[in-house]
Amino acid sequence: MYQSELIEKVAKELGISNALSQRLLKATLREIRDLLRVGHAVTIPHLGTFDTATYKEHRGYRPASHDFAIFPKRRVPVFRTGTLLREEVYDIESDEAGAPT
């Protein structure tokens, strides 16, 4: 699903214009980005949590030059899937009831 399709689908569901839907999508994504930038975590219901993780300075392998180097401290965005979404997606291939989640 492309971003344009997502925008159109959400607009149809909510009964708003595509332009407004696009504006709201952009606002949501940029707000998440800006909150992550200052170190906050954002939880979207039914979807999951956007959070940041800080990696300490560590030794790592560089496959391009086949050697090890000291990688600097860095902060990365992480996404933790929400329980509802995880359980819905869990058994999309096998519809066996009672599959432990």
Partner: protein, 295 residues
Amino acid sequence: MSDDNKIALHSFAALVAKRAKVSSVEADAYIHQFAKTISEELETGGEIPLYHFGRFHTTHVDEQAGHDPNSGAPLTIPEHSRVHFRPYTALRFAVNAPFRQLRIRELTPDKTGWRTRTGAWILLVLLVLLLIVLGIRAKSGISTQDESVVLPGMSSDKAVVAHTEQTPDTGAPATVPAAPVEPETTPTAIAAATGVIVSPGDTLWAIAATRLGDPYWWPVIYAENRPELSRRNPDLIDSGITLRIPALAGSVNSPNVADLRLKTNAYQMVAEDYRKLGNPRAAEYEKVTARWSKE
């Protein structure tokens, strides 16, 4: 995982509403519908790329052996799908902003790094150029001194004569006697023979030092040119005027009686002018004049 940095949904919705310039109810409804649409798409195994943000997608996990964490009993985990979010570079850069200046360090420091650094080469080239320029300047200084001894287009015996004329006057390098050797070359040479054109920054002291060979003889130049100097101030001479250099019977290192009288009179004149201007240096010059008059 701490709760202190979490944003409540209602405040997040308010922020989104402010950014999109809509009501916070609309923003809240939008966020819920957004999440619902994404999860529906992921349930069908699709993927959602969001520009400059990230990509949601699912991966297949094969059946694998595990164990019950409570009882330790072996357990078979069935094959299933799980959700992934892959942040794009723009989001990674934004989140990593506080540590952006940090770089990967080598475990074994590379000591040949300066070779690839252009700044080091530029510095080296500049240094070499500076040395070359300094060498050229030093060499040209030597060659001009040579030219004063042997002028081009001049017979060698005449050059020797010029040189011998200069030898007794050791205290004056490139001075008045050098100029009359070839007075018909250029107008500047003629001017140099009779006098000197004052350029900005020149002083009587400096002119006396270069033309006469002894800076302490500057009152002589002043006294010679005093009728032309309208200021009557020994400390102020105008640039552009031509000063006559008085011809001494002897030289500054071995002066005649006439030269000494000239010098004494010049000092007397300077002392008088200083006195007229109210300059306190007048006393010093009068003292010197009185001492020389007694001798």
